[in-house]
């Protein structure tokens, strides 16, 4: 899970901010599966609990194949073609050449590393710092401020409500949504403090 650790150094912060601003961040893969080259592939970010469930399920069975079960289960969940999952189950990946599965796994991890930070697997401080730089970009300021203002004000307390920005249940938020909210909030507070 190396790819999740640090924010991608080759992606400008402004673009990183916009990538995580999607309801379910996605990234298109340049890679095509041999013998299925007509199908374009995208990876879609998962919630930390969804990743955790896949890892838990992979614990059952022959220990030697745990890595294989993790990769095929995760690929079956994150890959999308058009408006449907690319594979209907992890078993379908069994029809691929083993080396091709390895290559697809590598490509998908690289892409996930750009759109799917999690508190469990990533250096969240580094991610929030990179996202703050992205939030300060003029092209992102509007969305950063709208996101930062998604809060409930109580007596002496401010409760984060990033779910309102995406119009979803709080349970559907990704870890990356929390990181981008914290970044936007920090930029908003710094900007309003100086005015």
């Amino acid at each position: 899970m190396l790819a999740f650790e640090q924010p991608p150094g080759d992606l400008p912060p402004a673009r990183l901010f916009r990538a995580l601003l999607q309801r379910r961040p996605e990234r298109t893969l340049a890679y095509r599966i041999p013998s299925a080259e007509d199908f374009a592939l995208r990876v879609r970010a998962l919630r930390a609990a969804e990743i955790g469930l896949l890892l838990d399920a992979a614990d059952e069975g022959v220990e030697e194949l745990r890595g294989s079960r993790v990769s095929t289960a995760l690929l079956a969940r994150v890959l999308w073609t058009g408006d449907a999952p690319t594979f209907r189950s992890a078993d379908e990946l069994g029809g691929m050449d083993g080396d091709d599965v390895g290559q697809l796994w590598s490509e998908a991890l690289q892409a996930l590393g750009r759109i799917c930070p999690t508190y469990a697997l990533s250096d969240s401080t580094a991610w929030v710092r990179a996202l703050e730089a992205g939030a300060r970009e003029p092209s992102n300021l509007h969305d950063a401020f709208v996101l930062a203002l998604c809060v409930d004000h109580g007596t002496g307390a401010v409760t984060p409500r990033p779910d309102r920005y995406w119009g979803c249940s709080p349970a559907e938020l990704l870890d990356g949504h929390w990181m981008i909210w914290r970044a936007a909030r920090a930029v908003y507070l710094a900007a309003t403090k100086t005015q």
Binding site: I33, S35, L65, S68, T81, P85, T86, V101, Q103
Partner: protein, 228 residues
């Protein structure tokens, strides 16, 4: 195409799998009924995984029936490795129909739906270690043919690999990454590392010579050692 599987899985299922025939009659003279040729196809992921699972099952059975030697059998890596080899070979070795007029003409060989050997257990009981080794070598050859061009070892790839291995020299991340690499790709990577190391050593020698020349005021040596 069926609705039960995704369009990508249907495309994979429809692609067909190339079977590479080899003449093996010199090695497989089984009870006066020689096997003249065997076809090999590259295993798909599900076959690789199934071979590993069945090998573990077999090794577990052997350990269970080993009596006093159960613990030793359970820890015997060779037992498991040999079982994996046989299980994998049983899945990739296919019976081929040959042209009766000229069985040596492999271009006319036709693949069948049948495995070349009855069961993995039959292979264990019947084939010699040398015969298994012949099958394994032929399969490695097939894998080499199939993987040609799939994974190119680019300079960028080698640089990334070097960075990750250096940063994680003390943990098991390099092992986890490299475990997936076929032997021929690992060989190519090690050669690239060796070339880079030789380049780095040569650069250091040039720099040392330049710095020594500067220290001693040897203008001739400076000009000789400088690429400019």
């Amino acid at each position: 195409m069926t609705d039960d599987i995704s369009p990508v899985a249907a495309a994979l299922a429809a692609r067909g799998r190339k079977v590479y025939p080899f003449i093996v009659n010199e090695f497989f003279d089984l009870g006066n009924k020689a096997i003249f040729a065997i076809g090999f196809r590259a295993a798909v992921k599900a076959e690789d995984d199934a071979a590993i699972i069945e090998a573990h099952r077999y090794a577990h059975e052997v350990a269970r029936s080993a009596g006093d030697a159960a613990e030793a059998a359970r820890k015997d890596v060779d037992l498991l490795t040999d079982a994996k080899t046989i299980e994998a070979l049983w899945r990739v070795c296919r019976r081929v129909d040959l042209d009766p007029k000229d069985p040596t003409d492999l271009d006319k060989a036709k693949e069948t739906i049948y495995p070349a050997f009855a069961t993995p257990g039959w292979m264990r009981k019947t084939l010699t270690t040398d015969q298994i080794a012949v099958l394994l070598n032929l399969y490695i050859e097939v894998k080499r043919k199939e993987s040609r061009g799939r994974r190119e070892v680019t300079d960028e790839h080698v640089e990334k690999l070097a960075t990750v291995c250096q940063a994680h020299a003390g943990d098991d991340i390099p092992e986890a990454i490299l475990a997936d690499y076929p032997r021929e790709i690992l060989t190519a990577v090690v050669i690239q590392f060796a070339l880079k190391l030789a380049d780095a050593r040569a650069s250091v020698e040039v720099l040392l010579a330049q710095s020594e020349a500067i220290a001693t005021g040897d203008a001739a040596a400076q000009s000789v050692s400088s690429p400019e």
